[in-house]
């Protein structure tokens, strides 16, 4: 943290000239500088460079060669890239939409007194605790042709489902794991949102003769709107970044059916060493992430404007 030390020395030298208020301000700036420096070098600089490399041809051996928008033009014609975008969008759509009613429903069920409530909540929360790589390994095992999932399905005379071995089912197998892990996470967020709703509202509704469903529709849902929006946005961003699970479980196959965009970027850069092309793909991913992050950042700062 050399920048930090320098600033403190500089302030010491000028101490006599500084009023008390500006001395405090100097301290305030000094303690935020390390954070700004780190984020500048490891977040903003790479983003700027990503834009630059996206306009070049670069294979790590020869110096980057400027080629304008050629990477973007060729990407838009590349069926593999378009397929990857489609896979990513499918993943996002179908891992976000079911999680919403599932996590909200679970939160509503938990928002009452129940026998062994804490134990149940911990049990349902467990998928959040499992590391992504472990999750990929364990589910690969369970998805085997004669694995436990097909055995259980066989009790109901379903299957056997080929899961990861067929391009028709592999993406759904990966999506299922995403739902398994995301639901408890957002359940906790919904539960926090539910607990913030004053009980009086429900009591008042009850006096007016409103039933459970009516008070859910006219009190819970409207008051949970900000939480719901946030859950959707966070979930979309997480889903757009999914990487470890498809890489370990399928490597993107079979027949490119699970090659999500981050995985394709990784393979283009670090297996085919086509840095320029990978950077151009990153720009596409960035636009997607940014659209949704922007809503999130707006929500996080909204309280400030009102102050």
């Amino acid at each position: 943290m050399p920048s930090f030390i320098h600033t403190t020395r500089a302030t010491t030298r000028r101490r006599l000239r500084l009023s008390l208020a500006s001395k405090q301000a100097a301290f305030g700036i000094a303690i935020i500088l390390p954070t700004l420096a780190i984020l500048a070098v490891f977040r903003f600089l790479p983003m700027v460079e990503a834009f630059y490399f996206s306009l070049t041809q670069y294979d790590l051996v020869h110096p980057p060669k400027f080629i304008g928008l050629a990477n973007f033009a060729s990407l838009l014609q590349d069926p593999l890239f378009l397929k990857s975008v489609r896979v990513s969008l499918t993943y996002v759509l179908f891992s976000v939409v079911p999680v919403l009613p599932l996590s909200l429903g679970l939160a509503v069920l938990f928002n009452r007194s129940l026998w062994i409530k804490n134990l149940l909540r911990s049990a349902i929360f467990m998928p959040v605790v499992m590391p992504a790589v472990v999750m990929a390994v364990v589910w690969t095992f369970m998805y085997q042709q004669d694995g436990v999932i097909n055995t259980i399905l066989d009790w109901f005379d379903i299957g056997p489902v080929p899961w990861l071995r067929s391009s028709a089912t592999s993406l759904w197998a990966v999506i299922l794991i995403g739902i398994w892990r995301a639901t408890p996470y957002y359940m906790v967020i919904f539960l926090a949102g539910l607990q913030a709703i004053p009980k009086d509202y429900y009591d008042a509704a009850e006096i007016d003769g409103a039933g459970t469903w009516a008070s859910f529709r006219h009190i819970t849902l409207p008051l949970l709107k900000p939480t719901t929006l946030l859950v959707v946005v966070m979930n979309v961003i997480v889903a757009m970044k999914v990487f470890a699970v498809p890489l370990i479980m399928t490597g993107g196959g079979p027949a490119d059916s699970t090659r999500v965009l981050p995985l394709f970027i990784y393979q283009t850069a670090f297996e085919f060493f086509d840095m320029g092309r990978a950077a151009a793909m990153s720009v596409f991913l960035f636009v997607g992430v940014m659209l949704f992050s922007f809503i999130q950042v707006r929500m996080f700062t909204r309280g400030d404007e009102q102050q």
Binding site: G28, I32, I38, G209
Partner: protein, 303 residues
């Protein structure tokens, strides 16, 4: 059901608009609510079975012999128990080393986030200087720049610094996180400024005020941030995969995925490693359950 609930509703009317949170529910209400509660309980129990099945299957399969791995009917309780899978898997690769690497990296990242995020949060809430609002927006906007987007240039930067295959390379890019700063800032907004001002009048230095007064007050937020950061760091996969090729620097997720590709069908050993890789997180969860859940709930914070 609405009709039968109304009498209990009248009790609410008597208690009036004052907070009725702790008032015991009437007997009638308890009786009418019971069927709904039993239904809710059954649904949640069913969901718990689904969330726990992979954990149970991982644990039981790690103790099952390979001959019984796919036997029918399902052997829910392994017989005979196969403890050797743990020893064999642990010795097949340098898992001790991977474990220590992961632990070291995750702890270093967590500690540095605790310090830097709270310093930045403190600066953003309790000091007045030009550009403060812009700095906050800049820090927050790094949430738009995930590693998946910046991995190519970040890799080139790390390579230029000669940090590929090094602990610095694993740790430095994650010393501080925009969301962590946001979390600490929101929490520190509630610390009264008078407290800090009176400490200044007593002659305490700025650093001392931060260390002795502000940080202890932030304990709940710090615990939540620590748990949240540690989980993410322990889970980190894509970044080590890109910059680490030396075996002695592999982290546990890298070790596990490598093990999977070289011992793909030794399911007993794979599950044993999976159990061991999850164990630290499970222990952390059981000891810090409240902080864990609060840490997650805080990601939805939007005051």
């Amino acid at each position: 059901m609405t009709g039968t609930v109304t009498p209990a509703g009248t009790t609410a009317a008597v208690t009036g608009p004052t907070k009725r949170k702790t008032a015991p529910p009437g007997l009638l209400r308890r009786l009418t609510r019971r069927p709904a509660s039993i239904a809710a309980f059954c649904v949640l129990l069913g969901v718990a079975c689904v969330t726990l099945l992979p954990f149970y299957w991982m644990l039981s399969s790690s103790l099952r012999t390979m001959e019984n791995m796919f036997s029918l009917p399902i052997q829910w309780i392994p017989e005979p128990l196969n403890w050797r899978s743990y020893v064999l898997a642990w010795q097949a690769q340098d898992f001790t080393r991977y474990f220590l690497n992961s632990g070291f990296v995750a702890i270093a990242i967590t500690l540095s986030n605790l310090l830097l995020c709270s310093l930045a949060g403190y600066s953003l809430t309790k000091f007045r200087y030009g550009g403060r609002g812009v700095m906050f927006i800049l820090i927050l906007s790094t949430m738009m720049l995930p590693l998946e987007v910046t991995m190519v240039p970040l890799f080139l930067i790390i390579k230029q610094l000669d940090w590929a295959n090094s602990y610095q390379g694993l740790i430095m890019p994650f010393l501080v996180d925009g969301f962590g700063v946001f979390l600490m800032r929101q929490y520190m907004l509630s610390i009264p400024k008078d407290l800090i001002d009176s400490a200044r009048i007593d002659g305490a230095s700025e650093l001392r005020i931060f260390w002795m007064i502000v940080l202890p007050l932030c304990k709940p937020a710090l615990v939540a941030l620590a748990v949240f950061t540690f989980r993410e760091a322990w889970d980190m996969y894509i970044w080590p995969l890109i910059i680490i090729t030396k075996d002695s620097l592999r982290t546990l997720p890298l070790g596990i995925s490598l093990f999977m590709s070289s011992y793909g069908t030794s399911w007993d050993q794979l599950m044993a490693i999976a159990v061991l890789g999850t164990l630290p997180m499970i222990l952390l969860f059981f000891f810090l359950q409240r902080a864990f859940i609060q840490g997650i709930a805080a990601t939805g914070l939007k005051e």
